[in-house]
Amino acid sequence: LAKTTQPISMDSYEGQEVNITCSHNNIATNDYITWYQQFPSQGPRFIIQGYKTKVTNEVASLFIPADRKSSTLSLPRVSLSDTAVYYCLVDKNQGGKLIFGQGTELSVKP
């Protein structure tokens, strides 16, 4: 499974757009990119998944360049409740085991 690298932490203020970039240089042709969010004392929660270009849902957008060696999770207009750890994962999207990297701890301040 491809290894991912993300910033350990990020700070932001309410109302700002937050972009978290993940590097996955060894991504395979059949790998998908998935982001999870984890609040304290809770299990991770799926945010978004993509294969290439751009994916958008009600929570976030995921930007994937043509070479797929990186991806950027974009959170529009963050609020205090978006303070959490965000994990970028790369996997075959076949319902198998997940390998979590260190994640990015996002702190949103008023």
Binding site: Y36, G43, P44, N93, G95, L98, F100, Q102, G103
Partner: protein
């Protein structure tokens, strides 16, 4: 989607004892996954539990320390045996719930926060 119920939500245990964690899913799933999250760390997969066969353990985890049962397609248990303070972690159960043919999403329980004293 899948709803996962984990029990207990937390426990404080004496070293040398064992704790069994239960994971109940509201739908039938082929595989169930057990993760460990040590304080301030990311999640690490312990094992994959398949119904009708022995669990598959990841490197660094052994059946004697973390025996797993999978009696049916909606239930699994993880036992943390002969506990030491180093076993103090959050233990999480996870399953997949397919939404679309090209899109799968893992669901996690709330976790069991274990403290060994």
């Amino acid at each position: 989607s899948a709803v996962i119920s984990q029990k207990p939500s937390r426990d404080i245990c004496q070293r040398g004892t064992s704790l069994t964690i239960q994971c109940q899913v509201d739908s039938q799933v082929t595989m169930m996954f057990w993760y460990r999250q040590q304080p301030g760390q990311s999640l690490t997969l312990i094992a994959t539990a398949n119904q009708g066969s022995e669990a598959t353990y990841e490197s660094g985890f052994v059946i004697d320390k973390f025996p797993i049962s999978r009696p049916n397609l909606t239930f699994s248990t993880l036992t943390v045996s002969n506990m030491s303070p180093e076993d103090s972690s959050i233990y999480l159960c996870s399953v997949y719930g397919g939404r679309e043919t090209y899109d799968t999403e893992a669901f996690f329980g709330q976790g069991t926060r274990l403290t060994v004293v």
